[in-house]
């Protein structure tokens, strides 16, 4: 019996005639928190969209909990327990905070229990804003909402695209702590993409580095402790 939650095997993705990702192999075990790091424009977001199924690879397979999901559309994958938090949050601006949270429940179709109420325990600030239009809350709150929305469906795998992007450092810290706590308490497996050094070091148990559409290297826990080395993969 294997505990591999997600495996990518020889994935190539292109936009039109432009190759974005080339021959990506990675795998994530149940309960792990794995980071993918790299600078702007190296294909991190493309990778996330390929995992959730918003983009189709030209080559390779995506395996989720032992099942080949390469040909499943995003909505089917989501219902198998993938929670996706996109870059830039993408909350539904004209829906209320609570409606946004409830939108995430479909993820839990395969389970008896959803976690709508737990979301408000993790993010009391969302509780205060339940009835407010999501487009009118602050950037940090939108980020909490995007996390809460994915969490509401009690996902097995959380896909997180740049949690820190465009958010004040103090809130980044808080959100980082929240993610850590959630993965621990709920046993959810986390795959996240990031270029913020501190977030990577705090969250990731191990990390893939991508550049130019390829996986350049993999960093284990000890490698991640060497701040300078990690920074060199990211900085200007």
């Amino acid at each position: 019996m294997t505990d591999t939650v997600l495996a990518l095997d020889g994935i190539d993705v292109s936009y039109g005639s432009t190759p974005i990702l080339r021959n990506i192999d990675l795998s994530i075990e149940a309960g792990e928190t794995v980071g993918i790091m790299g600078r702007n424009g190296v294909g991190k977001t493309t990778l996330m969209k390929t995992v959730i199924g918003l983009l189709s690879p030209t080559e390779g397979t995506v395996t989720y909990q032992g099942e080949d999901v390469t040909d499943l559309p995003a909505n089917r994958r989501a219902r198998l327990g993938m929670g996706y938090i996109p870059q830039g949050r993408d909350v539904f601006p004209d829906l209320t905070v609570h409606q946004n949270v409830r939108m995430g429940r479909s993820i839990s179709d395969h389970k008896s229990e959803n976690l709508v109420d737990r979301v408000y325990e993790y993010f009391p600030r969302l509780d205060e804003r339940r009835g407010q239009k999501a487009g009118t809350v602050s950037g940090g709150e939108q980020q909490m909402l995007a996390i809460g929305r994915a969490l509401a469906g009690n996902p097995d795998l959380l896909l997180f695209d740049e949690p820190s992007e465009g958010i004040q450092p103090s809130i980044v810290q808080q959100i980082t702590a929240d993610i850590g706590r959630m993965s621990e308490e709920l046993g959810v497996t986390v795959l996240f993409v990031e270029q913020n050094l501190r977030v990577i070091r705090e969250l990731a148990e191990r990390c893939y580095v991508i550049d130019n559409g390829r996986i350049e290297t993999e960093l284990g826990a000890t490698d991640l402790e060497d701040e300078e080395a990690v920074a060199n993969y990211l900085a200007v």
Binding site: Y15, G16, S17, T18, I20, R39, N40, G41, G88, G135, S138, G139, E162, S164, E165, G166, Q168, P169, V172, E194, Q195, N196, L197, R198, V199, N212, A231, L234, A235, V236
Partner: protein, 249 residues
């Protein structure tokens, strides 16, 4: 800068100057009080983390977006209220981040449309050939623009923007999605344009590319000018390093 200085601008000063340029989207300050100054003949690179407001700034300069506040001066003249096409006629040209070529038309037709502004009917075929030649696209003259490889589409768009014979050319990520060789070639085109007297303002992420073209660099962060200087100064600046690593200020 005092109020009196905003209205008078010395002749022969900066080719492009923005003053207090601001763009607000809802509650978000995409560009926040930016004063930018670009001298004639410069190659300036604009860098900064995602969401820093770089593309928005370019769109404000070229007139695609209206600023919430502030002004744009071009050759000392206030062009803030000028339409996009009037700015283009004044010698401002732009290449978009996502290639905005005429996908259904041939490469030749693509270049024809801007070039006919500058060249008479009689000479246009020769001029198109020359333009395509200088961007190594002559062999593709008959290809539909949508059928070009990504790199070639980027070059075609630069060729189109350059066909207007601009004084100031704005390039939004000209090397995005390119291989190392393609990026090098793009840098070569940029230099060639600059040698012809074109001033360039370039948004770019690839720091090697920036190093290969830029004379000076402006760092934008959260809509504001964060730092300015030569590429070496910027690279050694610990503050810049920190915003790139996401540790704020």
């Amino acid at each position: 800068m005092t109020a009196s200085e905003t209205t008078t601008d010395v002749a022969g000063a900066a080719l492009l100057r923005t003053e207090g340029l601001t763009k607000q989207f809802g509650g978000l300050m995409a560009v926040d009080d930016v004063d930018l100054r670009i001298e004639s003949g410069d190659i300036r690179c604009l860098i900064g983390p995602n969401g820093a407001g770089k593309s928005t700034l370019l769109k404000l300069i070229v007139g695609q977006l209206e600023p919430s506040a502030g002004q744009v001066f071009y050759r000392g003249e206030d062009i803030t209220d000028l339409s996009q096409h009037d700015r283009a006629r004044e010698g401002l040209s732009m290449k978009f981040q996502v290639p905005a070529v005429y996908g259904d038309l041939s490469v030749r037709q693509n270049v024809h449309i801007p070039l006919q502004r500058e060249v008479s009917r009689r000479d246009i075929d020769a001029e198109i050939d020359e333009t395509l030649e200088s961007f190594d696209l002559l062999d593709e003259a008959g290809t539909r623009a949508d059928d070009l490889a990504h790199g070639q589409q980027q070059w075609l768009e630069i060729a189109m923007a350059a066909a207007l014979d601009p004084d100031l050319l704005l390039l939004d990520e000209p090397a995005a999605g390119m291989s190392v060789q393609e990026t090098e070639r793009t840098a070569e085109y940029v230099h060639r344009l600059n040698d012809r007297g074109v001033t360039l303002l370039v948004i770019e992420h690839d720091i090697d590319f920036v190093r290969s073209i830029a004379q000076s660099v402006t760092v934008l962060h959260q809509g504001e000018v964060f730092a300015e200087g030569t590429i070496d100064e910027i690279e050694d600046d610990p503050e810049v390093r920190r915003i790139y690593l996401g540790e704020g200020h």
